[in-house]
Symmetry: C2
Subunit: 217 residues, 2 copies
């Protein structure tokens, strides 16, 4: 396959394919001459994976490169790779920690995570996200403890157990790994979308005015 064909097959412009090549997301094709290389189905698959991570999973190019590098490294276990995906959280800007309230939120969030008995590294971005959430709720006037997270933790626990159970533990590493990463990233988008839709559904039951603009929703 030539670039132009790869481009047509993937729906991604040649310029963008070259960009992914430059950025190290896509391996180079087999060089057949000084200015010619041929690409195989693996390249097409890789492009789709890149687009899934960037466009569906909202990973940045840098995060995508890290995730792909982990997938490619045969020395890493599936668990290690999941770790990369987990650490590639979209946000986690460390808003907390700056103020005393922020530091308190961070301590509360850490304590909550640890109380779950899940081993999570002290630097896991998810901790910062929880701390930020807690800080935001408090600054907006809600007097909440870390236990507001409890129902979500139960849910997440059950969900993760179920999701990981669908991944065969004895399949070839490549398949396992890709299934795990895809599952983490695309079903996150699915979950979020369905939750918002469900909010719309249930709020109609509780709050809708018969003649408001909501009637058309």
């Amino acid at each position: 396959m030539k670039v132009s064909e790869l481009s047509r097959a993937s729906g991604i412009s040649v310029a963008t394919i070259k960009f992914y090549l430059r950025e190290g997301l896509l391996p180079a094709g087999d060089p057949t001459a000084a200015n010619q290389a041929s690409y195989g189905p693996a390249h097409l698959h890789r492009l789709r994976l890149i687009r899934t991570l960037t466009h569906v999973g909202n990973l940045s190019v840098v995060q995508t490169r890290a995730a792909l590098a982990a997938i490619d490294d045969p020395a890493l276990s599936t668990h290690d790779i999941l770790g990369v995906a987990i650490d590639a959280l979209p946000h986690a800007l460390e808003r907390a920690d700056a103020s005393e309230d922020g530091a308190q939120a961070r301590r509360d969030a850490d304590e909550f995570v640890d109380s779950l008995g899940w081993q999570a590294s002290p630097g896991a971005p998810a901790r910062a996200v929880l701390a930020d959430a807690l800080l935001a709720l408090r600054q907006l006037g809600r007097e909440v403890g870390p236990d507001v997270f409890a129902p979500y933790a139960d849910l997440a626990d059950a969900l993760a157990a179920q999701e990981l159970a669908t991944i065969p533990a004895d399949a070839p590493r490549d398949e396992t790994v890709e299934a795990a990463v895809i599952g983490t990233v695309v079903f996150e988008a699915v979950l979020v979308a369905l939750r918002r839709l469900a909010h719309g559904h249930h709020s109609a039951q509780r709050f809708a005015t018969p003649n408001g603009p909501a009637a058309s929703r």
Copy 2:
């Protein structure tokens, strides 16, 4: 309160406060002279709300303005406002629809959403997200039908019902509205963070190699 004081109290630079003022996210202060205005606690609260939506909820400035405008419009019901938050989905880039496979994914996603019996507008971004997810899974080699979403829909349904139940239906509109928006946006971040943490926990059980880098995670 003067800008400088508002800045100190909120931790947001004067330049950024001016930016939010220009962008219409923050209402102007009470003018006391040609070049002087005073700000109250409501402004501080508004700033915190802005930062929560943008930094915790990952809304863009434009989406944040839309959400705030909806919150401010007394003609809108709580349900209408939830709709704005729902439509402010971070992604939904309409990847599908371009190809035949994409169009099929879109039809499947729509059919699934409609089968749930939730009323969702035909243009709801969440539909596009689901279609994109379905398309990505299929292009990556999984032969999946829209029923892969079913467990997530059940979960989302239960979750949304529970979340909305915590909002008092008879409280003042302003409180209801803010509680709904904050709940949608910040607990989404919480849910995502905890799910990733739970993935790490459960993957350790299934995939961890005793001596890999995972040992330190």
